[in-house]
């Protein structure tokens, strides 16, 4: 299956790994993996969560030591394992997803702090730091005020600061872990330009991303891992998103448009002229019984603010919300929940679920009234309620008392959905329900959504991935800069047309 395509000629690789094995307490995280990167190429490392991508990066950067027999050849030298110091000295840099920056410190300090470590005398030369920082930013063609604290800048600029820091270390090989996860499309385009610039300047970039469109756009080769084993190395040329997904998951996905007409059904939610200054403006929409309304648009289009307003977390400045014919005014999300509105947060880790607490407690938190017996909470009722939902939604768990953080993203999301279904909602708002969920598990989430719609639940499905709403919603609204700028019926409009409008 391994096809080492001869793209880029017979150039000697900058990095070449062979026979990499890694075991964590009996679990084989990597099995005989080999991997190579050529000088100046953009190489994508693809695979589902838990496939061993991060472990591989950590072996290359010296965080982990692979099992005996491994060989790491980098820039003409052979190592049995790396150490973090060697990796850094030899120009291997990693930009982690969380960036590992210091928000309170200035841009200059963030970029240049490594250069002053371990020097004698132990004094900080701020003038020199500023010069290093300015030079590094200049190489990227960016101007930032290096004296401002980093927290003054948005996430896209912080990303650039992290890249600048990597360049200060005279990088030859830069790993980027999900660099575009929190960027808008134009910011992503800008970042991809920077990556192309690095590549042109001879710096090899290994790109890890879930967004397959970007992967295809930027990289010359793609290495696919699955369950800790190498699936193969493929040239990006001629590759398609669906083919990569198949390679990553080992399954084939035939997606079909699920949309059906629901015009004969009664209206559940009717929104007219809803506005919140600076966030969204003059939003009007309806959702009918059993209907799934898709809302797509770029990050910052006001989608989440709109959803939170419908859920009572934010209050509208103008406009009306009518639920099943009755006008409603929510002063908090408690009113909204009582009225039958549920909202699955886009931020499952910090807002959607209480990660350290148990699966059972996370599931019942919004419907505690149901497990009260004789004035007190009943463990027996809680256990039964949770067992029922777990069976209904096909969640794989160990014990109900296990912390929810022990579950995979897909199973966590099922529990989060169950938590809201337990409140008997009329309207379920799903805000980016597949964030942090493996490609393979996403289909399962949407199967649940489709079944819920069958039972008559009105659903609003929000996602910045157009194909998700296209294939799973009955109608698609496009939101941009706080307004609804387009409405599409997936049965009569091709996906490319909506993608063209959204990503333009």
């Amino acid at each position: 299956m391994q096809q080492l395509a001869p793209t880029g000629g017979s150039e000697k690789p900058l990095l070449s790994l062979n026979d990499i094995n890694m075991t964590f307490g009996g679990v084989k995280a990597l099995k005989n993996v080999s991997f190579d990167v050529r000088p100046g190429e953009v190489h994508c490392l693809a695979g589902e969560n838990g496939c061993g991508k991060s472990t591989l990066i950590k072996i290359i950067t010296g965080v982990y030591r692979p099992a005996d027999g491994a060989s790491i050849e980098y820039d003409g030298e052979v190592y049995s394992h790396m150490s973090p110091v060697t990796a850094q000295d030899r120009g291997i840099q990693v930009i982690w997803q969380d960036l590992a920056l210091f928000p309170e410190m200035s841009v200059a300090e963030n970029i240049a702090f490594q250069t002053v470590l371990g020097r004698w005398p132990k004094l900080v030369d701020y003038g020199r730091m500023r010069k290093i920082a300015t030079d590094a930013l200049q190489r990227l063609g960016i101007t930032l005020d290096v004296d401002l604290p980093l927290k003054e800048y948005a996430i896209a600029q912080r990303q650039i600061v992290a890249i600048a820091r990597a360049l200060v270390g005279e990088a030859k090989l830069v790993f980027m872990d999900e660099p575009t996860a929190s960027l808008t499309q134009s910011e992503t385009d800008h970042l991809l330009d920077i990556v192309r610039g690095l590549s042109a300047a001879g710096v090899a970039v290994v790109f890890v991303s879930h967004r397959l469109a970007e992967v295809l756009e930027i990289s010359s080769r793609i290495t696919v891992l699955r369950d800790g084993a190498l699936v193969g190395v493929y040239p990006a040329e001629g590759m398609t998103q669906s083919r990569i997904t198949e390679l990553m998951t080992g399954k084939t996905f035939d997606q079909e448009v699920r949309a059906t007409a629901r015009q004969d059904q009664p209206v559940v939610l009717d929104v007219k002229g809803l506005s919140r200054p600076g966030q969204f403006d003059d939003i009007s929409l309806t959702v009918r019984r059993g209907e799934t309304l898709g809302i797509t648009g770029l990050l910052g289009a006001g989608r989440t603010e709109l959803a939170q307003t419908l859920f009572g977390m934010l209050q509208p400045a103008a406009g009306t919300i009518t639920l099943e014919g009755k006008p409603v005014h929510f002063s908090s999300n408690r009113d909204a929940i009582k009225a039958g509105v549920a909202y699955l947060s886009e931020d499952r880790l910090s807002l959607g679920l209480i990660q350290p607490q148990s699966i059972a407690d996370n599931l019942v938190i919004s419907s505690l009234g149901k497990i009260v017996s004789g004035g007190f909470l009943s463990d027996e009722r809680k256990r039964k309620l949770v067992a029922g939902w777990i069976a209904d939604l096909g969640v794989k768990i160990g014990l109900q008392s296990d912390a929810i953080s022990t579950l995979s993203g897909g199973n966590q999301q099922r529990i989060a959905i169950a938590k809201w279904l337990a409140t008997d909602p009329k309207l379920l708002i799903l805000d980016a329900p597949t964030v942090g969920v493996d490609v393979g598990a996403r289909a399962g989430i949407f199967d649940i959504v489709a079944k819920l719609a069958e039972t008559g639940l009105a659903i609003i499905l929000i996602s910045d991935e157009v194909p998700e709403v296209y294939f799973n919603a009955d109608r698609v609204l496009h939101m941009a800069q706080g307004r609804i700028v387009g409405s599409y019926d997936p049965r009569s409009v091709p996906l490319a047309e909506i993608e063209g409008a959204v990503y333009a």
Partner: protein, 332 residues
């Protein structure tokens, strides 16, 4: 089918291991060193000393579970005691009747609760750190109390209050009965009520709890209110035990209450912890100081040994968690 030991384990929770082991160790060591240790006298003295520290620890427990702290517990107890003392004095001092005592107790609990309400409101609405808010309340109450009492003792209470501090019913000291009733009330509150459930959830992630439709501000205010009311009960017991009230009495208990919570397996960042292990931890601390007292050690040494014990428990907990992880990994 769950065996009895499994159910017992589930009821006690994983936090029980630390204080449980410490209890066994303390009883074994002192039982061997001093023959008088395992006597009614030792347990009698523990039974009378336990409630004061114990009630204050219960007052500390709820805020810690929400990820906060109530540093005003001791001075809230003093001010509540002072309230009762004044009601008694205004009604004839040593000649005051049971009605005055009942009224005084109600007012004392209300004063304690009021201090909690204020802290709770400030913490819930300004998002100020509970340490700062309760520290401010502590300083305010101390200053107020010292101003009102001129730093002196308030005494002269009717004789019938004495048994509340020193008396026994069927051989069980009255303060201990009060304390155990409060322990059970707290246990019920935390394991069987919505308020208790939400207390744990807030301690782990207040924003996610709010998104789940919980009125987190209300929960915070109630938690500090109950904490203040529990301080008042401690204040009433202290008044009865010493037959006087002085601002600053019990001040040294403040940090011990925090440590007793941690010894009882309460997570210092909130979200996890149970009442029964904390109760056992309190028993261990009292047995330890009684045992040291018995073998003639200096009282200050007892405090030092408390500190050592707590450090030891933390190291052991760390080692145990390491061991558990490696054990589980081997299993897979």
């Amino acid at each position: 089918m769950t065996s009895f030991s499994d159910r017992l384990k589930a009821w006690l929770g994983p936090e029980m291991a630390g204080p449980g082991l410490a209890l066994v160790a303390v009883i074994l060591v002192f039982g061997l060193v001093s023959p008088q240790f395992l006597s009614a006298a030792t347990f009698g003295s523990v039974a009378f000393q336990l409630p004061e520290l114990g009630l204050l620890t219960l007052a500390m427990l709820l805020p810690i579970l929400t990820g906060g702290l109530n540093l005003a517990v001791t001075f809230t107890a003093n001010i509540a005691g002072l309230t009762l003392a004044w009601v008694l004095q205004a009604n004839g001092g040593a000649d005051a009747g049971a009605g005055a005592f009942a009224l005084g107790c109600i007012l004392a609990v209300m004063v304690g609760a009021a201090s909690g309400v204020v802290m709770g409101l400030v913490i819930a609405f300004t998002r100020a750190h509970p340490i700062l808010v309760s520290l401010s309340m502590m300083i305010f109450l101390r200053g107020l109390g010292e101003f009102l009492t001129r730093g002196g003792d308030v005494s002269g209470f009717p004789a019938f209050i004495g048994p509340l501090g020193h008396g026994s019913i069927a051989g069980v000291p009255v303060p201990l009965i009060v304390f155990i009733a409060c322990v059970l009330a707290w246990h019920l509150l935390l394991t069987r009520t919505k308020l208790g459930f939400n207390t744990y959830m807030i301690g782990s992630n207040i924003e996610a709890t709010r998104y789940s439709g919980i009125n987190t501000r209300k929960v915070i205010v109630l938690v500090y209110t109950l904490s203040g009311a529990m301080c008042a009960i401690a204040g009433i017991i202290m008044l009865a035990r010493f037959n006087s009230v002085r601002i600053g009495h019990g001040e040294s208990y403040l940090l011990i209450t925090v440590l007793a919570c941690f010894l009882g397996g309460v997570n210092p960042f909130g979200g996890f912890g149970r009442v029964i292990p904390v109760f056992v931890a309190l028993v261990v601390l009292q047995l330890l100081s009684s045992g040291l007292n018995l073998i003639g050690a200096n009282q200050h040494l007892a405090t030092a040994v408390w500190g050592l014990l707590l450090v030891g428990v933390m190291v052991l907990r760390f080692a145990a968690s390491k061991f558990k992880i490696s054990f589980v990994r081997k299993g897979t």
